[in-house]
Symmetry: C2
């Protein structure tokens, strides 16, 4: 992308004012909900709803046409049927609008007429240098600018993870899982049919975006796979890119073609090529979010030597199981750490000191927990440490101990509190604020670990 | 197992009174928390704490020795070190106690001395016909009897799913995930070292247990794999058994040996043999719980022909992707259903009518949703239906429509509301009460579907 392209995309995410074309008073319709989202998101710029006859929607004055708006329009959100959409995009171009989000479906994914209309969108974009998101998209968000330009009026936690999703529904799945995991978002992009702007364009834009530290992508299929893979590989040298791609079966290929108009293609081919380019592939929404969480909070470890500390063996074993085949090493405890642990717990221990370090019931006691984690974290054999515990009605959670040990060491520390979503909430905020990702299941902890080690390797190989 | 064995195990889960040997006043210790759990769980029988000098713990009178308890003891919970544990179990046997849960670790998983002590436990069990759970266990629960005989004082949702876990920590993971998913529990068994009672025994007991409809198992490894596989295969003809087994790597084999004293063994071998016996293998806690949820709420479908109904394509595609390789068929819509949908939505639709049925924005409108789901559910080509939607601030959730359509048809219906855990809670209770499992991610929905179809096949083949 040229500098001019990037500037135009910045306008898309940081518009001074927004027109909602196809705004309505019916709360079931997309046009109403775009407006509601802008308000709910706390957007501070000017909002211009457009409707042929209504005077006011949600307390905001309405204009009969985009031509009647007495101001420059930076971003036009277009919620009209497919034919009117094309007309209005042309008008936007003529009026010098720089960016548009086109929400309606009904284009190439549905057949010949849709394909013809989509061709016209490409022509309009080129003729007027109009950046068009979609069509057939949930919309976009920039939480840094309090901009929710989607038809889902939600308030979300702010952070440094940005998301690109070819599907609105799965985009929303990722957003909701991020909320459950306390992962703050920066930008969300519903890519939809990618008629003008492709996933590769969004990746390149986010690569230079100061607010974005990690990029998560949901992919069905793309036409220009080579361009996507190269872009992802380039971007991943600057910041981590995690991609969740569907397409394991022929049924899925059929379904994606009539969704966002692309075949899913060979999953294995995608996987191997992405791997070569240092991009991490996730196998589910949960894995994508677990990986983004670790990458958004932790510095990369110096290497892939993992220590595990627990007082309940099962979760550490499940985490190890999840790490099989990930080229992560589980080195022995150094003799110095064994000595330190014996100095804390006594010589005659009813447990075997190895890695995973399992101190059993002894490890739950307050007063010793912090010392044990500190000893483990400082083992020279480990590049990063994961700890596991089960919150308990009568035992204090070791939250402050974990933070103290982490602050002293600076090595990446991930923690797993086996819990319900609600049970873990308060401690998670405190730990994650301090730079320790907190998971509630050992499987997700393993995904976080794998992501950190993957990128520590990638940075080594690629730079 | 003989009838006498089963009777003895029933006593274990339905004791008239319980002794807590090793009860203490320190809230950090297991002995205190066993007592607290019995109280917190609402246990109605008599509780006899045993401690050499204390007079009262948590308001309950304490006895200096089990010999001083002026009553028959049905169940002894033993929270002592490994040497004292063996002594006390012997004493329990002599006094005619019928069941014991032995909590402390430090047995064969730690070496020679532990192995010798464990041998003595076997001798004691045989000599006195004493049913011993563990050692090295979190404990057991029977929610039907308000019995929480574990050292985690928690209150849980009651239901018809029973769990057997070789690991306390993972057992607790499964329990907590069940809470997040609104899955009610019946019995929980922390199997631990399985010195006397093996997983196969628990399976056989639960097969005949009226309160248990579905059995979930977490497995590290077992010595007598043949017996386990045969038992699981036998039990699965009566009620579904879902097993989550770790052991994909050598690291895990090393770790399980020093955890509950067993090698994990070859994962692939286990998988293939379980499959032959009709047992479903789950790959994670999340999959285990998703499968148990569907099996606990739904009747088995007549076959494996799945319909999907959505207004947002991505989640249906992800679900399809998760079903790849599961031998589930995705048949075309019948002409009659196409006619019904067109009668509801009109002839000139901007979507292609196929399976997954994706009605796009049209499908979100109240008034039509229920009719569309009903049409899909009644398609003669489908044995079961899954629906997907994204709850929205301004749109009513289609909860009542789903229930109505389901009641009219009786075919298994699973639903996915893309949501946070909190966002889905209220509707989930209503839907699940009505027999419709509700998931918050399409991956978990796919696991629920796969479990139902798996057992519909299994029942066919095995019976």
């Amino acid at each position: 992308m040229t500098e001019k392209d990037i500037e135009a995309m910045q306008k898309l995410f940081n518009p001074g004012n927004v027109a909602v074309i196809g705004a309505t008073a019916s709360s079931e319709r997309v046009g109403y909900n775009l407006l509601d989202s802008l308000i709910e998101g706390g957007y501070k710029g000017k909002i211009y709803p457009v409707h042929p006859s209504l005077k006011e929607i949600l307390g905001i004055p309405v204009y009969p046409s985009i031509r009647d708006i007495p101001d420059r329009v930076d971003l036009a959100l277009v919620a009209l049927n497919r034919r009117d959409t094309v007309e209005v995009l042309e008008r936007c171009g003529k009026l010098g609008v720089k960016g548009a989000v086109s929400l309606a479906g009904g284009f190439r994914e549905t057949g010949e007429e849709g394909r013809a209309l989509e061709k016209r969108i490409v022509e309009i974009a080129e003729k007027y240098a109009l950046k068009i998101v979609g069509p057939n998209t949930l919309g976009i968000m920039n939480l840094e600018a309090n901009l929710n330009a989607s038809f889902y009026p939600v308030r979300l936690k702010k952070g440094n993870v940005s998301l690109i999703s070819q599907s609105g529904g799965i985009g929303f799945s990722i957003i909701q899982k991020c909320q459950d995991e306390g992962v703050g978002l920066n930008k969300f992009i519903g890519a939809g049919n990618r008629t003008v702007l492709e996933i590769a364009d969004y990746l390149e834009f986010l690569a230079g975006d100061a607010g974005t530290r990690v990029i998560g992508v949901f992919l069905e299929g793309v036409e220009n796979a080579r361009r996507l893979v190269r872009a992802a590989g380039r971007v991943t040298r600057k910041k981590p890119v995690v991609i969740y791609k569907v397409g394991h079966s022929d049924d899925v290929n059929k379904a994606t073609l009539t969704h966002t108009g692309s075949m899913a293609g060979s999953y294995k081919l995608f996987r191997d090529i992405f791997k070569q380019h240092g991009v991490l592939l996730a196998g589910s929404v949960a894995e994508l979010v677990a990986a983004c969480k670790a990458l958004s909070l932790c510095q990369l470890p110096a290497g892939g030597r993992l220590g595990l500390y627990t007082y309940t063996a099962g979760p550490a074993i499940v985490a190890l199981d999840g790490l099989a085949g990930r080229e992560i090493s589980i080195p022995e405890l150094s003799p110095g750490t064994v000595r330190k642990i014996k100095a804390i717990l006594g010589e005659d221990l009813p447990v075997i000191l190895k890695n995973p370090i399992d101190t059993g019931g002894l490890g739950t006691r307050s007063g010793t927990y912090g010392l044990l984690v500190e000893a483990a974290l400082n083992d020279p054999n480990f590049d990063l440490l994961a700890t596991f515990c089960c919150p308990h009605k009568n035992w204090r959670n070791p939250t402050s101990e974990l933070i103290e040990a982490y602050k002293k060491s600076g090595k990446p520390l991930l923690s797993c509190y086996i819990s319900t979503v609600k049970g873990v909430e308060a401690d998670r905020e405190i730990l994650q604020q301090a730079g320790i990702p907190l998971y509630k299941s050992p499987e997700e902890t393993a995904w976080g670990i794998a992501a950190l080690v993957h990128y520590s390797r990638g940075v080594e190989c690629l730079s």
